[in-house]
Symmetry: C2
Amino acid sequence: MTIIIAIATQKGGVGKTSSAVNLADAFVRRGKRTLLIDLDPQSNATSIISEVNPGKLRFNTVNLLLDSDPTVASACIIGSRIKGLDMIASSIKLARAAETELIRRNTTTLRKRLAIIAADYDIIILDSPPNLGRLTSNALCAATHYLVPIKGADIFSLDGYEDLEATVKEAKEDNPQLQLLGAFLNMYDGRTNVAQQLLGVAESKFGKDLLSARLPRSVQFEEAAATSKTVLEAARDGSPAKAVTELADEILVRVGLT
Amino acid sequence: MTIIIAIATQKGGVGKTSSAVNLADAFVRRGKRTLLIDLDPQSNATSIISEVNPGKLRFNTVNLLLDSDPTVASACIIGSRIKGLDMIASSIKLARAAETELIRRNTTTLRKRLAIIAADYDIIILDSPPNLGRLTSNALCAATHYLVPIKGADIFSLDGYEDLEATVKEAKEDNPQLQLLGAFLNMYDGRTNVAQQLLGVAESKFGKDLLSARLPRSVQFEEAAATSKTVLEAARDGSPAKAVTELADEILVRVGLT
Ligand SMILES: Nc1ncnc2c1ncn2[C@@H]1O[C@H](COP(=O)(O)OP(=O)(O)OP(=O)(O)O)[C@@H](O)[C@H]1O
Ligand SMILES: Nc1ncnc2c1ncn2[C@@H]1O[C@H](COP(=O)(O)OP(=O)(O)OP(=O)(O)O)[C@@H](O)[C@H]1O
Ligand SMILES: [Mg+2]
Ligand SMILES: [Mg+2]
């Protein structure tokens, strides 16, 4: 069975995209056939891993979600810059489409479209936008698991979890198998009081659903993104790359794909 | 004339909310009658400055935007924790309302509603969500100026500026007086290469529209938010508070309110 992971939270800037691309690279290096789908109109994931200028692509997530031909999913898949990692690119046009077209459709659209292509992959990662609108609902309806990044010292990234849970509950009506893969701490700097306090709150809120692997705050993440690379490509032996690999391995164990 | 500042960018986590509440406090300390309106369903600004539990409020931004009685705006205004700073609270219900109701209305709804209360204030600050949907369009149609936070080392916070400009252009059809107050660097740490590169790109992209005041990356911002305070309340003499005051003063000069 293909594992489909929606990386979701409405809190902005907590590392949804950076964990999506970095984990995708780590899964490929563990020999998993991986597809990354960028469901955020900002298209940040697309700009990091796309080989071609996204503007020149004939198909993207707008087609995936709105074309009348349900088999369009396979046409949307392209190879990324990373050997062994496929992708479906996003576009800013997805924002308007989500507001006008997608709102009239069932949130199970993506789920139905992915069913056609899922068998070719071990893991599909869905990067979602910072809101709980139609795109995130579609992602949660299509996913087998959802993964929640918590920003190490950002109290608001914890605050919004109840609202995410409400959206998850709605998605479970169409997708009862959806389960929490877990939450993990990103940009974690254990030296500050506020991060230690937040860790305590996260441990009591998530319990065993808090992954033990954490990603440290490191400028290597920002540098990698600025040069359109993953941290595994930019600095293979650095501590950020090691932390990403540890997180990926813990996820593989939790979803039963070791 | 009342200055209405929309703090807007679709990029998540760059400091829209933290600059909204910190600048609001700085403007009050400069003797300006200030109102902060939280247009983000996440309600982060509300949780920092609200005196009462927002769940107990009878009126919030949902009423402001959707009640049939246009004079509801005055009923939505409450005092915040900060003496001299008024606010209109948000609620997660705003998300669903924006997707269903607001989508059918003209983006000039907020503009019309604010016209009734604006005269009581020197400055109104609009905190917006991390997207370019209806709530941000309403904010841009109501504003006299828009302010764009750029995260010091986050290449994506610069990337998305063209998309924001497209939304601004649409807003200008209803609000021709809307002007760019400027962009400013937040979480800036000049010691890293990626931040210095980003500064260079921002200078060439914005020119004189890049404010010279910058907010440093400092855990005091995260600590203040975690204790529901502004940095001016939490550490009045710290360098973050001084930087916020400098930014506020530069803004007051740019909008002609010294
Ligand atoms: N562990 C980390 N240490 C330092 N910087 C990080 C880390 N993880 C992510 N970042 C940086 O933080 C910024 C925000 O991350 P990212 O864009 O992945 O968040 P996001 O949740 O996808 O944002 P959005 O809500 O806008 O989609 C980026 O510049 C990214 O490079
Ligand atoms: N200069 C700074 N230094 C360190 N941390 C900061 C700074 N400015 C903001 N932060 C922290 O970064 C996090 C994100 O900031 P904030 O929530 O204000 O961003 P936002 O753009 O409003 O996010 P969203 O897109 O979700 O609305 C918060 O935890 C905040 O405390
Ligand atoms: Mg993202
Ligand atoms: Mg905010």
